[in-house]
Symmetry: C2
Subunit: 346 residues, 2 copies
Amino acid sequence: MTGITIKDVALLAGVSAATASRVLSGHPATSPDARTKVAAAARDLDYRPNAQARALRSTRSDSIGLLVPDVRNPFFADLAHACEQAALTSGYVTLLGNANENEHQHDRYLGTLISRRVDGIIVAPLGDGEGGIRSLIARGIPTVFVDRTIDGLDIPSVTTDSATGIRQAVSHLASLGHTRIGYLSGPLSTSTGRDRIAAFTAALAESGFEQAPELVYYGDFQAASGAAGMRALLNNEDPPTAVLAADSLMAVGAIGLLNERGLVIGRDIALVAFDDIEFFALLNPALSVVSHSAAEMGRIAVDLLLEVIAGGSPESVVLPSELVIRASSSSPIRPLPLPFARRKKN
Amino acid sequence: MTGITIKDVALLAGVSAATASRVLSGHPATSPDARTKVAAAARDLDYRPNAQARALRSTRSDSIGLLVPDVRNPFFADLAHACEQAALTSGYVTLLGNANENEHQHDRYLGTLISRRVDGIIVAPLGDGEGGIRSLIARGIPTVFVDRTIDGLDIPSVTTDSATGIRQAVSHLASLGHTRIGYLSGPLSTSTGRDRIAAFTAALAESGFEQAPELVYYGDFQAASGAAGMRALLNNEDPPTAVLAADSLMAVGAIGLLNERGLVIGRDIALVAFDDIEFFALLNPALSVVSHSAAEMGRIAVDLLLEVIAGGSPESVVLPSELVIRASSSSPIRPLPLPFARRKKN
DNA sequence: CTCATCCGTGGAATCGATTCCACGAAATCG
DNA sequence: CGATTTCGTGGAATCGATTCCACGGATGAG
């Protein structure tokens, strides 16, 4: 169909395929005459090298794989965008895959990326590292973990130091008089889920509180579980006056539920979300967040991957997180009106 | 590095590479004995076929390209997600590219996708079809346009009938007493930009209004231009009492500016956005939108592309749009307080 | 002026999988 | 029972680009 090969270019330029190849890939041993003729021929024919053939021979594909849990999560959309832009400036194309927070699909995509012989893979790992991840490592394919890690695997990673931001958030809430702080946790099967709940527990202890088990709900980082979790927290006998959500989508679910119940955020209940996304600043009241930069994470992940591809073994990077106080958590404490607090499940 | 080829499998199974290939690709002319031995060998070696080599010989790559203007736009994130899931169920991997609303990057990505010999491309085209798009078509690569089209090119597409939803929005606003309705337009270089402003103008006429040129601002579908546009509209001598934004990001920018000015949406000014995104329902007040389904658009685009790849020439599909009324546009008209209306630019 | 060096070039091998072709064995038919 | 079809198989060609190797011509040094 497409038909235009390097032989056509060589023929038109009056040289051999070998010389044409050398000119096109910038090999120094070429004459100026050959260079101009081949360049002209390639332009005239609108020649595009066949990336497959090139990759087959040179064992490079000039592409990297990026596997994220969900592109629809704005944090990962930002991350994907940043990775892609950074990779592009280094001459790599990004093959974006979507695990859909689903381990089976995650492994299937990893297999596909291996098959396509990408030069390296940036992955936010899912699960315990038994499935596709193990194949990756066994093959020695350059790999970098992003956002999440897997215990016991010595793979360079870019993650966030959740603890600092969470400690700031808890002490901020405590300073406003909140003593019963609820937590919408991510799944313990992810490192971020585990890190953040551990940081939360530690922060409570620092502020002199004990963690009440009924004020922690374990969800799955998706919006629906944020709503379910907020409902569960409100159904407590003594509900929380402030809630911290472990990611943006769970916060979105929680906000939806609070609106539905007619509870006013920032007045009836304080809310802080992990992950900053543009929309949170637009809410009324604007949402306080623990912020960390997806864009920076993406850029650094690409840098690390390029180092690994080049044969190095870079140190892992831990990025900071920081509390951004907005209106959703700046009013003084005010107990929930009883009719809402004790409402039954719907 | 990876090293495991079909020859290794063949050797372990005690057959030739040709037979191994036949077994692995499900060719009927194989003996049960060969089948079991090759299957076992492939499993034991954790063999993954080299997609490059296969694609080179068979002229199929089992991959499609998807080029969107911006993954960070939730509409396109949803679209990408839907395309990817639909493609995956048909055995195709999706290579996602990001044009960044930038024609140069758009063309560069198209070139890359052509080089990688994807089996087909789904693209939200940018520009006038002169650059990369023309290469695509000249090569006869199966192509489907999504969301946007290019005049004069006979390529199957999936688009939205913006006119219906916009007409509903205008007549809804008119019924509330609004007579000065502002419009934050997308760029006229995109088909969606042109369609929507045309629909808006026509809808105004149907409601008996004339379009005031000072109430239309031409932006670029990005958040910053939404803010700039809203600022310009408010600086009018006789500012609009209602505003329609041509996409979600421009609406986001507009909302940010209104918050900054202390104007209350739904009370001081009515706002309706084109594109529904989950977050708009969470705003206080919730945002009225002209809704159309990114997920459906993505699924249909993949269906059309598969038809084109199979040699067919499917009809283009036009999806409906529909007004969803929420609080941002349901209060009766109330003129803007003057100090806000005449404020200077900052 | 001769011999060694360097440089640009083309031929040929190569990457890994698929597929055409031909061969031998088994199965089927008259 | 001989002739023919069917079937599984291996060898070899192929896809398109890269790269090793060898060759011839030009240049430089002695």
